[in-house]
């Protein structure tokens, strides 16, 4: 069997693939966080809970109403995104003029409430969700076996990330977002309904999280606590990438997934810690993050 650095190529490629998949989730989630942070200037601690809500909605809608995966892919983000708009409108907006630390704590509280209520209903043991039949099996690439669903996750996640980047950097609507990120008060002084834009932006960031949740449902264990662990890693990714950049969030997400995958091959014990190690190093050398604007 072919080896690289004493490791079979198939093993290396397999871990790399898992890394890219994890990276795709990190990218989607940190992208949503970056979009929200840009306009609202808060770190959305509810992000993990809303990701979980996307996955759980998918499972529950299937069990209760037979709603299939493809419908969920659109419906769950829309429903959860609407929950996001309600959170912004009824909670975050009330304290938006206070120090942002309060908003941050509020999103943390919202996450605990959502997670707590759903744990009471569904427990923590994980619900089953089977993937659509078209995704069963995979293709042998010669050096590794590529399951169809994993390939799909990578492709669709990258497409959504690219679409979001394009929307923000190249369209009129995106120019509102960029301008609002710089000076939302002045934007409003030009006649743009900034409060509405804030609601929709929060809703959109939440939709990205919920979309990641739907993608996760067939491959990760779906339970009310699934968001909590992931979010801690995603926060590390955000710190590494820096809050300033949309493309930076995506690239850092993918990169960290890959680094995690490599570490699993060469030093498995360190895999769960490597992202935090990178975070510490980046904080020491470049506190505003790899893509962040220097303060």
């Amino acid at each position: 069997m072919d080896m690289i650095l004493g490791v079979p190529i198939a093993v290396l490629a397999g871990q790399l693939l898992l890394g890219v998949i994890n990276g795709a989730f990190y990218a989607l989630l940190s992208l949503g966080l970056a979009v929200i942070f840009g306009l609202l200037k808060i770190i959305n601690f509810a992000h993990g809970a809303l990701y979980m809500l996307g996955a759980l909605t998918t499972v529950v809608m299937f069990d209760a109403f037979g709603v299939n995966y493809w419908v969920s892919l659109f419906l769950a983000p829309i429903l959860v995104g609407f929950v996001g708009v309600l959170i912004e409108y009824f909670l975050l907006r009330r304290i938006a003029h206070e120090d942002h630390i309060y908003s941050l704590l509020l999103t943390f509280g919202v996450a605990l409430v959502i997670q707590g209520v759903l744990t009471n209903i569904y427990g923590v043991s994980g619900l089953r969700y089977s993937m659509p039949d078209v995704f069963r099996g995979g293709v042998n690439l010669g050096f590794m076996f590529l399951p169809y669903y994993r390939a799909w996750v990578i492709v669709i996640a990258l497409l959504v990330c690219f679409g979001t980047w394009f929307m923000i950097e190249k369209t009129k609507l995106g120019s509102y977002l960029r301008a609002g990120t710089e000076d939302s008060q002045l934007m409003q002084g030009f006649g743009i309904n900034v409060p509405l834009l804030v609601s929709l932006t929060y809703g959109f960031g939440v939709m990205l999280a919920a979309f990641a949740g739907v993608l996760a449902a067939p491959i990760y264990s779906v339970s009310p606590v699934m968001g909590g662990n992931l979010l801690i890693v995603v926060f590390a990714v955000v710190v590494i990438g820096g809050m300033g950049s949309i493309a930076g969030a995506v690239i850092t997400g993918l990169l960290m997934g890959v680094i995690e995958g490599f570490t699993k091959v060469f030093y498995p014990e360190g895999a769960s810690a490597v992202i935090f190690l990178v975070m510490v190093i980046v904080l020491l050398i470049r506190p505003s993050g790899l893509f962040g604007k220097e303060a």
Binding site: E182, G189, I192, N193
Partner: protein, 240 residues
Amino acid sequence: MSNPVDREYEQLRISGLHAFYGESHILHGINIVVRRGELVTLLGRNGAGRSTTLKAIMNMVGKRTGSIMINGTDTLSCAPHQIARLGVGYCPEHRGIFASLNVQENLTLPPVVRSGGMGLEEIYNMFPNLYERRFSQGSKLSGGEQQMLAMARILRTGANMLLLDEITEGLAPVIVQKLGEVLMKLKAKGLTIILVEQNFHFAAPLADRHYVMEHGQIVEEISADELEAKQSLLNNYLGV
């Protein structure tokens, strides 16, 4: 389009305006009336409260009390975007060019609030430099280009009352002269303009009236034809 301007029409009436930033009380009972087509200046030393007055009109300060009537409606409970949609165009002290947007994106960012604004072509004719640089990022512009853009940006929206804060500050004489010409044209079109200005020589030939501010109050109102008689008083207030 060429309806004669009703020069008695009160476009702006500020009465007993107090404004605060958090706990600090900045404006202490301001009264200002501006009629349609007038060009009025707010003069005063640094820190007198001129920028705060413009911001208070836009609802961009903390608490406000008193009344600010625009076209006869009280706007004290209006959000900034609703005030802009009454036809108010605000050019802030530091120009407020968005660095992450290019020139054209900056220019087309503010929505059209009234009909009768200038088209893109007309604007590029007035500011040929902006046309040449239309795909440059806002962060790459010179001070003069930024100021031209900040002016052009509010002309496109059809706003008929402009609040201009120190538009000549730090600019080369040729650019200041260009801005003077632009203001003359806008005045001829019948736009109402409130100009905060350090450069009295720039403002004097353009203005119909001057309000002098000190410590957050209006201390003197001088019309253009009284200017000569009150010059020494004015110099006193401005500390020149």
